[in-house]
């Protein structure tokens, strides 16, 4: 097996290396942007009435007044050692703060992904094998309407229905899974419901198209000619070769889910990374913004490595490199 694992390691390291320029571009751009922001960091921390001596002392201590390049390299040096700096105001460790917050966002994002997969893929399998039928037409129309509803509209409408009219689910608040799993489920449901419709519609569209294309393949015609039951053909012959494309869409839609989590978390006051970056942007807490940008880029590099590796697991014809 060790000989078999080597190409995988090589493929992973190539992709990790390819992610480095993206990471540097994003984080450097963020550092440069932060110097455009009105008011210096020291001024923000100390308030309006700070004396110039106090400001100078703080700048000397944290290096807030250094030129962009020097600040960036200082930050990068810290990151290499796993140190993302401290938050401007409470001087907490940014890395520790983010680990807690990211867990919340990931829980919501992965549950939304799971829900949409469970709904979209079976429906797409069925309608792709019965094209032009009523259910196919209806679902296609529903999907294109759902794709046109922005997340912030979904959030407002579902919160109104489930929290205000029906009073089934809480409109704000959060409980960690580790503290109380049941309460966690209670709080996570509405955020997940808000992210799922768009995601489901998108996945449904892509999956239906893929299944439709696979159903035209010769091996499906052969299977049909042999008189195999449709359900068997769908599960054994159609599902697997279509999955790589579906997997890519799942990977790509992490951008959407993360963007959606900003809206969802700010509306339901859920302490995830979306909520954190909004409050950090509000208070110009630059180290937090910088760390979240780094985290986002890192997530995408990792996700695309996973998607590529998933390809080779699903479809052995695909070469890892």
């Amino acid at each position: 097996m060790s000989a078999g694992a080597l190409p995988y390691l090589k493929a992973i390291s190539t992709r990790l290396l390819a992610g480095i320029p993206v990471f540097i571009l994003v984080t450097f751009a963020a550092t440069a942007l932060s110097s455009l922001a009105p008011g210096s960091a020291a001024q923000l921390i100390l308030g309006e009435n700070a004396s110039s001596q106090q400001i100078a002392e703080l700048n000397a201590a944290y290096g807030y007044d250094l030129p962009v390049w020097e600040r960036y390299f200082k930050w990068l040096g810290g990151v290499v050692q796993g140190d993302f700096g401290r938050t401007l105001f409470s001087q907490q460790s940014v890395a520790k703060l983010l680990v807690d917050r990211a867990a919340v966002t990931f829980e919501i994002a992965f549950l939304a992904m799971f829900v949409s997969f469970i709904i979209a893929v079976p429906l797409a399998l069925y309608t792709a094998s019965h094209p032009g039928k009523l259910l196919d037409t209806v679902l296609r129309s529903i999907a294109s309407v759902l794709l046109s509803v922005p997340t912030f509209v979904t959030v407002v409408l579902l919160a109104y229905i489930f929290a205000i009219v029906l009073r089934w689910l809480p409109a704000t608040g959060w409980e960690n899974f580790s503290d109380d799993p049941l309460a966690n489920l209670w709080y996570v449901t509405l955020p997940v419901l808000c992210l799922a419709p768009h995601q489901t519609a998108y996945l449904y569209r892509v999956a239906r198209g893929e299944f439709l294309a696979t159903l035209q393949e010769d091996f499906v015609t052969v299977a049909r000619a042999k008189g195999m039951p449709l359900s068997y053909i769908l599960l054994r012959h159609v599902l697997r070769p279509s999955l790589p494309q579906v997997l890519t869409v799942l990977g790509l839609s992490m951008t959407y889910l993360l963007g959606g989590s900003f809206i969802v978390e700010s509306y339901f006051a859920v302490p995830g990374i979306g909520w954190t970056i909004l409050s950090a942007v509000n208070s110009h807490d630059f180290p937090v913004v910088q760390a979240i940008l780094s985290l986002t880029v890192a997530i995408f590099v990792v996700i695309f490595i996973l998607v590529d590796l998933g390809y080779t697991l699903i479809d052995p014809r695909v070469d890892v490199s």
């Binding site: 294109s144 509209v153 963007g259 880029v297």
Partner: protein, 308 residues
């Protein structure tokens, strides 16, 4: 061509009244006849809606009797009634929601239009150079496109707007920055696939300069692929701009924006749920129309490619 079929030959005198009424019914424009070439009725309606929206946004100042979007015109939080200004109700300080939706359309459309000009312009420039000369320009374009694809648009735009302050100008530029990579990548792909064709070889043999090849020979052939993605990317920009306003980082008050209107009506949602429908319908229908027209373009493009 379905469009040609709907135009009945006008000749042939009609004798009896029954066939006359039939002829009148046949000549009356029916929804099922309204089509874009090779498109469905829904696609035609969506295109017509977008045209109407642009006209309304351009000429909203001249609509007779429309109240000002920024001043109270009646009682606050009134439910919809049958007057022009009250048809969508009034907001928390008594402003006409219809008026604010229409003026909000003007803001959204102009921001998205100019942002698209920015991203299309720069995207074309960088994409064409990257596709033609390859090398380091191509690597830079790929890096930019990959970077933008790996970040949620709202995160990019929040970072930009938070550090530059939010005004119509900064939001337009920030939105314009988002899609440069996507347009550049499509332009680049188009240039690469066109460069090896015979007509380029012929033009080169005749001594055409690089600029002439790019602008006169290749550019016209990039237009279909680029127009096909414009509506869909515009829909994305409408959503991003709306999200930004919803989060409170959009165009500063009191200028009306759809996202901001939705955000402010959520506070009153439990008591006045009807008042949210105006801005919600405006943004959902606009995005739907853009997506549908985008799908139409994309389908036309792919059938064109299959033929040619």
């Amino acid at each position: 061509m379905t469009g040609a079929r709907s135009r009945k030959p006008a000749g042939k005198p009609v004798a009896d009244p029954q066939s006359l009424s039939e002829a009148v019914a046949a000549a009356r424009p029916r929804l099922s006849r309204l089509r874009l070439p090779g498109g469905t009725p829904v696609e035609a309606v969506c295109a017509a809606f977008l045209l109407l929206l642009v006209l309304l946004a351009l000429f909203v100042d001249f609509i007779p009797g429309l109240a000002s979007p920024n001043f109270p015109y009646g009682d606050f939080s009134q439910p919809p009634d049958l007057t022009l200004n009250g048809i969508l109700g009034t907001d928390a300080i008594g402003r006409s929601i219809l008026s604010r939706v229409l003026y909000g359309a003007r803001t959204s459309i102009s921001i998205v239009f100019f942002a698209t000009l920015i991203s299309l312009g720069f995207g074309l420039l960088f994409g064409m150079v990257a596709g033609f000369y390859r090398g380091s320009v191509e690597r830079a374009v790929d890096l930019y496109a990959n970077t933008m694809a790996s970040l949620p648009p709202i995160l990019v735009i929040l970072a930009l707007v938070a550090s530059t302050g939010s005004s119509v100008f900064t939001i337009t530029v920030a939105l314009g920055i988002l899609d440069i990579g996507t347009y550049a990548r499509v332009a680049k792909g188009g240039v690469i696939s066109q460069s090896n064709r015979d007509y380029i070889l012929a033009a080169r043999a005749m001594g055409a300069s690089d600029a002439r090849l790019l602008l006169k020979e290749i550019l016209p052939n990039l237009v279909p692929a680029l127009t096909a993605i414009v509506p869909t990317l515009m829909a994305g920009l409408i959503i991003t701009e709306g999200s930004l306003s919803f989060l409170g980082y959009g165009i500063p008050a009191p200028a009306p924006s759809w996202g901001g209107m939705i955000a402010s009506s959520t506070d009153l949602l439990s008591r006045y749920p009807l008042l949210i429908f105006g801005p919600v319908l405006a943004i959902v229908i606009t995005v739907y129309a853009l997506n549908t027209v985008g799908d139409y373009f994309a389908r036309r493009l792919s059938s064109r490619e299959r033929q040619g």
